[in-house]
């Protein structure tokens, strides 16, 4: 392992890669700060640029963009109460009240220190957990991979569905359906190509990601413009950041919160589908309970603990979500799904073999995550007052640029104008579904995993002589599928259990 870490350090410390981490963090912060654009859009916009790069360099850039976009999202949450992504919603609970009290600088500093600590602790966990899991997963078979993918999809649908499992499952199925367009890999038969040669290789994942995230998010901002009062309020918030210094008492108050939330965040992040959103809400809830009645009352009114906990947990969860991606080749979130797509486009198959076949990629990505955290703290934090001015860029100029970069990003890969038209079609569809609160992340994950799922299921059936019994005869496969079914029932059973508990409490109160 030490050898691997050293090789990772040597790759990540190359001047070009260090430059890429810095560029990635800046670009990510910049894009993540723009309302509506999150890490998925930020990474998608970077992919065409990285095609000519060495895989390690490209991934290092994307890891930097990922961290930067989350930090940028926290900044817009704190300054203007506009979380770009669900993972930073909990940050705005106490970050925005602190900013309103005139402590925006302090809130940003707390967010940066917490993110750094959470990312650092989680990177250490990742160093230990990823190789261990990679070794174990070498014994996995096609049936287990198929079951793991089912688990990943159901988990994302269960947790990312904004409380509506059926909608999230429908979006997962839509993504799986889109993945079947093109030539069937095993039998060489064209499917759903409508006789068009443009569709014979299927739909490009970059096209779908750009259309359903970057394009539809930009169009969504045009569809629902902000009021003049909101714009004036945001401008005021960017001007008055206040001091960024923290007192010794504040640091002492933050320290245990950071420790607890890092561990919690990392382990939640490792679970497929759970990710930064659940980690941040859970950490917030845990700290509120642990704070006691006096300090607990401050939550939601500008509590330092309330800001530090979700910020630490969401960064730790981001590192955690790389564990299933790097070791099993199965993304646990929309963001890692897009990174998987990028890896595949470099010709690298993530999974247990990545650790053996491309150790430089495996280790340099992990090391660069740590470097990314340092860059964010040392370079981005002092520059926040200047970077925050991006929020003042007029939408009239910004939107056409986002549209242009999205279109050209896809066009420069294929040089096929059909792709531009297909993107517009998908963007309109995604915009309509967004209006009806259908989540996009399960669709993207379904699309990316669809091909692999079909391939693994087909292989498993060939190995088991066309018998479906492998689903319940192999203990590991059966256990993973059982967990998937359990996860599927969580959103259905949780409200019912809550109702029962409330009823029991009321009965007890009446009885007493």
């Amino acid at each position: 392992m030490l050898e691997g870490i050293l090789s990772g350090v040597s790759v990540a410390a190359q001047p070009i890669n260090l430059l890429m981490v810095m560029v990635g963090c800046f670009a990510g912060t910049f894009i993540g700060m723009l309302p509506g654009l999150g890490p998925i859009s930020a990474i998608a916009l970077m992919i065409p640029i990285t095609y000519g790069f060495d895989p390690a360099t490209g991934l290092i850039l994307m890891a930097g963009v990922y961290y930067g976009a989350i930090f940028g999202g926290s900044t817009s949450s704190i300054l203007i109460n506009a979380p770009g992504v669900a993972g930073t919603v909990a940050t705005s609970f106490d970050g925005y009240p602190l900013a309103k009290q005139g402590h925006a600088g302090k809130a940003l500093a707390i967010a940066a220190y917490s993110s750094f600590s959470g990312g650092t602790i989680a990177a250490v966990f990742l160093l230990i957990a990823a190789p261990a899991l990679a070794q174990v997963s070498l014994s996995f078979q096609s049936t287990d991979y198929f079951a793991l993918m089912v688990l990943g999809l159901t988990a994302v649908a269960a947790f990312a569905g904004k409380g509506n499992l059926v909608k999230a499952l429908l979006m997962t199925i839509l993504g799986l359906m889109l993945s079947t367009v093109g030539t069937d890999q095993a039998q060489g038969v064209p499917r759903f190509t409508m006789g068009r040669l443009d569709l014979i290789d299927g739909i490009s994942f970059l096209l779908l990601a750009m259309a359903t995230f970057a394009l539809s998010e930009a169009l969504s901002a045009v569809l629902k413009p902000k009021s003049k009062e909101d714009q004036a309020r945001e401008l005021e918030a960017q001007k008055n950041l206040g001091s960024m210094k923290l007192s010794r008492e504040e640091v002492r108050e933050m320290a245990p919160v950071v420790g607890r939330s890092s561990i919690l965040g990392f382990f939640i992040g490792v679970l497929p589908g759970a990710g930064a959103t659940i980690a941040s809400f859970l950490a917030y809830g845990v700290e509120q309970r642990l704070a006691g009645p006096t300090k607990g009352k401050l939550f939601g009114k500008g509590s330092i603990r309330g800001l530090s906990a979700p910020e630490t947990a969401n960064n730790a969860a981001c590192s955690g979500s790389f564990v299933p991606l790097l070791t099993l080749g199965i993304p646990g979130s929309g963001t890692t799904a897009i990174m998987l797509g990028a890896l595949l486009s470099y010709g690298i198959q993530p999974g247990p073999r990545l650790f053996i076949d491309n150790p430089e990629v495996f280790w340099s990505v992990i090391i660069s995550m740590y470097i990314g955290n340092v860059v964010l703290l040392i370079l981005n934090l002092p520059l926040i007052p200047y970077i925050a001015r991006v929020l003042a860029l007029p939408t009239a100029v910004l939107v056409p640029y986002i549209l242009f970069f999205s279109l050209i990003g896809v066009y420069f890969v294929s040089f096929n104008t059909f792709d531009i038209h297909l993107m517009v079609l998908f963007a309109i569809g995604a915009l309509a579904l967004r209006l009806m609160d259908f989540p996009m992340a399960p669709m993207l994950l379904g699309f990316i995993l669809g091909g692999m799922m079909e391939e693994n299921l087909r292989r498993a059936l060939i190995i088991s002589n066309d018998s479906w019994a492998f689903l319940w005869e192999r203990p590991l496969t059966a256990s993973i599928l059982a967990i998937a079914i359990l996860i599927l029932f969580v959103p259905i059973l949780a409200p019912q259990l809550g109702k029962l508990k409330r009823k029991a409490d009321e009965n007890a109160a009446e009885g007493g």
Binding site: M177, T180, A186, L219, P225, P400, L403
Partner: protein, 149 residues
């Protein structure tokens, strides 16, 4: 109609069309007897999708209608038209002319009327991006219409 029902109906139509097209996938006679062939996954997905869409249609979790107040549909439609137009012109008119036109049109649709912004934020960007692609990244992109090349 509630937003859940509208969404479910749209998806149901899509799934039905997908299911119909899945029956058109060509299979060789020996493939028909296999446990898993090119139609298996699409047909399973169609079944699952239709069942779930019907469930949402019958039992929507959200009864609120789609709130379209304050939404600017014209602007979105114009931007979409502009993107489609860009798709048609990026090759025929060349990168620089089509990109400049797209950006100027985009700023205009978004309400920008100052000539300095319209021209200054579009033409130099188109030139700069073209230069970056051709000279730095070594990717050839035709700058001008075919008759000027």
């Amino acid at each position: 109609m509630s937003r859940d029902r509208v969404g479910a109906l749209l998806l149901l139509v899509f799934f039905a069309a997908y299911g119909y097209l899945s029956t058109k996938i060509t299979l060789l006679p020996f493939q028909l007897n296999q446990a898993f062939h090119a139609r298996t996954a699409p047909q399973f997905l169609t079944f699952a999708g239709v069942v779930l869409a019907l469930f949402l249609l019958i039992r929507p979790s959200d009864d609120r209608p789609i709130d379209t107040s304050g939404m600017v549909f014209t602007r979105v439609a114009l931007l979409c038209a502009l993107m489609i137009f860009y798709g048609f012109t990026v090759r025929s008119l060349g990168f620089i002319a089509s990109t400049s036109m797209f950006l100027i049109g985009g700023f205009w649709v978004m309400g920008e009327r100052r000539p300095l912004v319209l021209l200054g934020a579009s033409i130099p960007i188109a030139f700069g991006f073209w230069f970056l692609m051709v000279e730095v990244l070594d990717v050839f992109v035709a700058p001008w219409p075919a008759f000027l090349r």
